[in-house]
Structure formats: C-alpha cells, structure tokens
C-alpha cells in the first residue's frame, strides 16, 4: 500500500520539479490603456498576457520587434520596464446561470457588491460564429411587449434586430421593455408547468454609458422583478477603452453558453456606436492605419464577428441580438450605422420628431423593417395585425398630402381617421410591456372597429381600459389565446363578446 503511494508521490515530485517555461517581455511604453512591449517573442494573436499586480492584457498588434497590448484593469500601477508574461490562454469569462441577477464587468468580475460568483465554466471571449450547417432559420417569436414592434416588425429568436435613432428617442427603453417582457413571459410560462416552454434569459451590455444610467437601468429591471433572468455586463464611460472594447464579446460569450446548452437568450448591446469609438481609440494608439472618420479598416469586422454570433442553432438554443446605434441628426447613412444596418436582419428606427410629438415608442414605420418578417409571428397576431403596417404607411402618406388641402373625400377621411387611431393605440408608456395575448385582444378590437366611435384623443385611455378589462375579467380568454396562438371561429366569437361587454361598460 505504502509502496504504491510512494510511487505516486515520487511521480508527483518529478512532475512538480519540472521547469516551467514562461515567455516574457518588458513594457516599453504605456499610455491610454495600451502597452507596447519588448520581447514576448512567442505570444499569439489575441493571447492573454499577465502584467504585474494582476492586470491582464490582450496582444492585438504583433510587430517585428514589439507587441501592442490592450490592458484590462487598473493600469495606474504599471510602469516602463515591468515584466509581462504570456499565459498561453485566450481571454475567457465566467458563464452560466450563476451570473443571472448579477452585474459584472467586462471580465466577468462582479461589480454589484453581492459577493463572488460561483460560475462553474468559462467561455472564450472571442469565438468563431456558428457556421451554416449548424444554423436553423428563425421562426420562433421573441415578443418585445411593444405592440408597434410585435405587430409590425416582429423579432424572432436568433435574429439580430438593430435599434437605431438619435439620442433621447427611447432606444434603451425598447431594449429594457423587451428584457422586462421576457421576465414576464418566463414567470407565466414557468408557472404554467408547460414542458415545451422555453424561457429567454437576457444579457444587457452597457458600453461607454454613464454609471448613473446603468444604475437606473438596473433599478428599472429590479422594479419589474426582471433581474433574476438578466445579466448586466457593464463597461462604463469611465472604464478604460479596452474594457469597453471587450465587454460586448464577453456578453456574447455569456449568451452563447445559454445557446449551446439548449436555452434561449437575448443580448442587448447598448450601444455599438460607443463600442466603435472605443475601438477607434485603441486602434489609433496602436498606430493602426485609420480610414473613414478615423475608424480603422477592420471596424466592419469588429461588429460583424460580434453580431454573427447571434444565431438559432439546430437542436440547441438561440441567441437573439438587439444592438443599439446612436445616430446624429437622424443620419442613418453615416459610417457605423450603415455598417450595422447591413449586418443585422432589420432595424427599428426611432424618430426624434415622433418622440417630440408624444408618439412613444417613436417607431418610424416606414424606415423600420424586420427581414425575418411574419415567420417570427404567431398566427393570431398575423390575423389581427397583418395589414397594420400598410395601413399606417398609407396614413403617413395621406397625412402629409392632407396638409395641403381641406376637402377630402370620404374614403381618404376614413383612412386618416383609422390611421390616427392606430397611432394612438400604439402609444405605450415606458417599462410597461404588454403580453402578446393582450396585444391580440386590443388589435382585434381595433380591427373590428370598437375604437371607431371613440374620440382620437381618448384612444389611449380606452386602450388602457380594454387591457385592464381583459387582464382582470377575461383571464381565461387570454390564456386560451396564448395556448392556441391562433384565432379560430370560437375564439373570435368569444373575443367579439368580450369586446362588446367592454364597450357597454366603457360607454356607460
């Protein structure tokens, strides 16, 4: 017995006395989160390198006689001449359900003061996106809870839908609403005990935002009890650009874990304009050649390789991406917006004018599109809202035309009346997503003309009253819509009767 143990111990002793090889270099210059290093002759592209004091870096520029690294973490203690060591590893972040409900930095370290995260696995931050064979077409809906989007610009699981607009037009609000709606659906679905129900977990990546905004977002999610299904990855404006550059990839790695393990996840990149700016800063300090608007040549690849990681995998789960882009004065033809528009499967364009007119969410129906189309819609929504986009587009055209003339024929007037009612109906307060079954009921009432006798100014009140009526008094009917996901004659009759009942009570 003891001989066997001695044998093992001697083997261990032999192994542990083996010399450990390290490849080292020395910091030559360090500025703005980027270090130029002499040596590191064995370093690989994107390899993690270890700086003194626990800071880590990523080798991004491999040159003839120096290596350019971005430093993640505190650089204040680093100085010229410090020794840097290769690790032979790619940068990885913790992944798994242990991260749900937590706020972490770009490296997956907790920043919410709730103690360490007990994550069992790590995933590399940079990963090649799934190929063609393993993908499946997007056909399952991902409900945002925003009526204007779910009925006209439907989003599917595994889709990449861009949210684009000027500052202060409600881009983040749409993303937060979507996260809150997933939490609402998860609660209902998990409580129902349906074995086929697939919850959606959310990841919100804040890049270059004010800390106060991130706190506000977390507050909104906590108030809606949505944090239990959400991970926040924060790389605030005060973080160094390297952390801001890495954060979306870290979030994608966390989302990929859900996707690879047969679950569905939603990731919001808020926002990729600031991400591109952080990457431009790094690239300029690394002395990479600059191109249009001083962005480096690979700024398209920066976003394409990130967004390609969102997918629906055959036999596994999905990762849906909602990147956000901030435009300047509504200019969607700027460099970064056009890049991201071309990468994504559609965009939700938010207009400042609509926002200022009080039409919130300020979704521009003409410029917004979902390239997945109705494949990601349930039949019930198609039945009640299939023609809405066309009607609204006609309304906008006629409304512009009607400004020049006072005499309108009856048909045009009816179209204008209906359009203005639809616009009012789609108004929705922030952080108040509506479940799809309620949306179907409201759109059914609109389609059947229950809002026609109501004054346009009172449509919002009437819609609120109808929603309250359905959620408090017609819960069984809503459950039936949710489970059937299509309106048959029986369900239509029940809806008609319910709407009649609401009409009589509302009018009274």
């Amino acid at each position: 017995m003891s001989t066997i143990l001695e044998q093992i111990e001697s083997q261990i002793a032999k192994l542990s006395s083996h010399a450990v090889k390290k490849n080292t270099g020395n910091i030559r210059t360090i500025a703005d989160g980027v270090a130029k290093i002499d040596g590191l002759s064995d370093v690989m592209y994107n390899e993690m390198v270890q700086f003194p004091g626990g800071a880590i870096g990523i080798a991004l520029n491999l040159e003839t006689d120096e290596v350019g690294c971005v430093v993640l973490g505190d650089i204040s203690q680093l100085k010229e001449g410090d020794e840097v060591t290769t690790t032979g590893k790619l940068l990885s972040v913790p992944v798994g359900k242990a991260l749900l409900g937590r706020a972490v930095d770009a490296l997956g370290n907790p920043v919410d003061g709730k103690g360490p995260i007990d994550a069992k696995e790590t995933y590399p931050v940079e990963k090649i996106a799934p190929g063609i064979i393993v993908r499946k077409s997007v056909s399952q809906p991902l409900f945002t809870g925003i009526m204007a989007i779910d009925s006209m610009i439907p989003i599917g699981r595994g889709q990449r839908e861009l949210i684009i607009g000027d500052r202060g037009t409600g881009k983040t609000t749409i993303a937060i609403d979507t996260i809150i709606n997933q939490a609402k659906i998860n609660k209902v679905g998990l409580a129902s005990g349906d074995p086929k129900f697939r919850p959606v977990y959310s990841i919100y990546v804040a890049v270059g935002q004010k800390n106060s905004n991130i706190v506000r977002t977390i507050g909104a999610l906590e108030a809606a009890d949505a944090m239990q299904y959400t991970i926040i990855v924060a790389a605030a404006a005060a973080d160094n650009p390297a952390n801001q550059y890495i954060a979306p990839y870290s979030g994608a790695a966390m989302g990929e874990w859900f996707m690879e393990n047969g679950m569905d996840a939603l990731i919001v990149y808020d926002d990729l304009s600031k991400h591109a700016v952080a990457y431009r800063q790094i690239s300029l300090i690394l002395k990479r050649p600059s191109g249009r608007e001083a962005y480096p040549g690979d700024v398209f690849y920066l976003h394409s390789r990130l967004l390609e990681r969102a997918a629906r995998l055959d036999g596994k789960g999905s990762l849906t991406a909602l990147p956000i882009i901030e435009t300047l004065a509504g200019d969607v033809s700027a460099y970064i917006p056009t890049n991201v528009i071309s990468i994504t499967d559609g965009q939700i364009f938010l207009e400042t004018d609509l926002f200022n007119q009080g039409i919130r969410p300020a979704v521009s129906v003409g410029l917004s599109v979902s390239r997945v189309g109705s494949a990601a819609q349930i039949k019930a929504t198609k039945q009640v809202g299939g023609k809405l986009k066309g009607e609204l587009a006609q309304f906008r055209e006629l409304a512009a035309f009607a400004q020049f003339g006072s005499d309108l024929d009856a048909k045009t007037k009816a179209q204008l009346d209906r359009g203005s009612r639809i616009v009012e109906l789609f108004k929705q307060p922030a952080f108040n997503p509506i479940l799809i079954e309620t949306q179907v009921a409201v759109l059914f009432a609109m389609q059947k003309g229950f809002f026609d006798p109501i004054e346009v100014k009172k449509i919002v009140d009437a819609a609120t009253s109808l929603k309250a009526f359905f959620t408090t008094r017609q819960e069984a009917l809503l459950t039936e819509i949710r489970t059937k996901a299509a309106l048959d004659k029986d369900l239509e009759a029940k809806l008609q009767a319910a709407c009649e009942a609401w009409k009589s009570s509302y009018g009274a």
Binding site: A19, V20, K21, N23, T24, D38, G39, D42, T64
Partner: protein, 131 residues
C-alpha cells in the same frame, strides 16, 4: 515625427542585419557600423543609434543563458544546461551564473525572452496565484 521614427527604425534594422556574422553579433562589425554612423551622420542619428542599441541588446540576450541559482552550482551542471539549451535553440549560447537567494531553492534560467523556472520561489508564486 512618426515618419522620422519609422525611417530611423528601418535604418537601425538594416544596420543590425549588417552586424551579424553567421547569426551572431560581431564586435568588429558593430565597431564598423558605429564609425559609419559617426562619419555619415544619417538623419536623426540619436534615434537610429537607440533603435540599433535595442536590437543588438535583444540579440545578445538571445545568445546568452543567464542562470540564477539559490545554492551552490557546479560547472558541470552549468555546462549541461548550456549544452541542452544550445541544442534546443540551435545556436551557440554563452553562459553566465548569478546567485539569487530570493529563489529560496532551485534555478531560474533565462534565454532571451524565455524563462525556465524551477525554483521554490517560483512554485510558491504559482501556488499563491492559483489560490
């Protein structure tokens, strides 16, 4: 300024290549190059010489084995280390030993950028990092 630095780097690299004889820095060639620089005064001579010095220093470090040891070390061990590394790197290596009590026990061998750590201090540091 950036253009000057690039030009100086390029010239320093050319001068460095001329300093090598059979892949090893030749003192004679280095002397000749320094004389040439003094005589012809290329643009930004200080920049050129600094870049040249850096390249030569890196090359010299690549050709030298520095053995740090905690206890006594015999010439035989040093020679065997030098021979093994010369075989590995495929070039002749000069050896220099230096006592370093901070290692507690064992050796640390440095060849250019590579460090081979087989010391008690190194193992303790690895253990501390793993905790």
């Amino acid at each position: 300024m950036a253009g000057h630095a690039k030009q100086a780097q390029q010239l320093a690299r050319q001068l460095f290549k001329l300093s090598l004889v059979d892949g090893v820095v030749s003192a004679e060639n280095v002397g000749g190059i320094l004389a040439w620089v003094e005589k012809h005064r290329p643009a930004n001579p200080l920049m050129v010489l600094k870049a040249y010095q850096r390249l030569v220093a890196l090359e010299l470090a690549r050709g030298q084995v520095r053995v740090e040891h905690a206890g006594a070390i015999s010439d035989h061990v040093l020679q065997s280390i030098s021979a093994a590394l010369a075989k590995k790197y495929g070039r002749p290596l000069a050896i220099a030993a230096q006592p370093n009590p901070a290692l507690l026990a064992g050796l640390r061998v440095r060849v250019g950028d590579d460090i081979y750590e087989s010391s008690a201090a190194g193992q303790l540091a690895a253990l501390a990092a793993a905790l």
